[in-house]
Symmetry: C2
Subunit: 186 residues, 2 copies
């Protein structure tokens, strides 16, 4: 299981990947691991209590967050899926009585997706648990640490933006790895 242990990176990492930074990799690996563990601990239980997939649950959260009905296309853009995939997701949600499709009042090509009362009750019930869990999970961090953490995340996104803007760079080849005292095959 992502057993809430830290990810390590071998001491000879920078020998194996010339030009790469071990501390950067440590940060990236543990960032992803912790985000995964956070989602598993916080978002998954309420989502599975409702018996929905990640995407289907996201549709409900997006609709709740908007606070008003949205067109299928608007939700599809938020979730980064095609309109055909959206149709399928809405079919699933409608079958379970969580959304309704209603005609758009002025543009008859469009439909408006409404949360049902049942869905709204469900979201109202689950979101406090989500936010309460998050609050407890972060309890050990001071406000100063939280600000510093957000600042570091901002720097990473700046780095990612730079990375996306530049042509794919070339990297030095991997070097052969030294034998490690790995566990023998089960």
């Amino acid at each position: 299981m992502g057993d809430l242990s830290a990810v390590d990176v071998p001491a000879d990492f920078e020998r194996e990947f010339p030009g790469a930074s071990r501390s950067a990799t440590l940060v990236a690996a543990n960032l992803v691991r912790t985000a995964t563990d956070l989602l598993a601990a916080i978002e998954r239980p309420p989502r599975e209590a409702v018996g929905l997939s990640v995407s289907a649950f996201q549709v409900l959260v997006v609709l709740d967050g908007a606070g008003e009905p949205l067109t299928g296309q608007a939700i599809a853009e938020e979730l980064l899926v095609t309109s055909a995939s959206m149709t399928s997701l809405l079919d699933t949600l409608q079958r379970r009585g969580l959304v309704e499709r209603r005609p758009h009042p002025t543009d008859r090509r469009k439909i408006l997706i409404h949360l049902t009362e049942q869905a709204q009750r469900t979201v109202d019930l689950q979101l406090p648990a989500v936010h309460g869990s998050i609050t407890q999970a972060m309890a050990d961090l001071t406000e100063a640490e939280r600000e510093q953490f957000l600042d570091s995340l901002t720097k990473m996104r700046a780095g990612l933006t730079r990375l996306a803007a530049q042509p794919t760079p070339t990297f030095k080849a991997r070097r052969k790895r030294r034998a490690r005292p790995g566990p023998t095959t089960a």
Copy 2:
């Protein structure tokens, strides 16, 4: 798109969710967002260049990381999938010539999964790009910031561990949200 912008949380968040912390939610939301963007920028391109799903690519990385053949079950435990799902994943990889199944030398119930030379070449080619991109994405963070960041992640995992250990707590009910100046429906 997760357009590399920060996630915000409404100013009246703590009124809507009594007992929840806005700064904790900011940290959690941006942690997840940044981790997602990082994966999209770093891991997705090499993976899609090879034409593999997340799970299939992970199988290759796990085998490469182990540095030796593994049983199907060992990989399945690493990826948190059932043995039946593992069979399906290995079928896909074997069809593409990326792994081989060979009998275990002493226990005839088991099979050992080997990376093919082609798969090893692929991994050797893609991993330097992954680690180089990570190094560039993190370039703005000083070593001190990286250590502080890892420290904060450790505290979060401690919080998650506590959370998992305790019985599910109850949370105060959500309060009705004030109307927001949301975008009018498309």
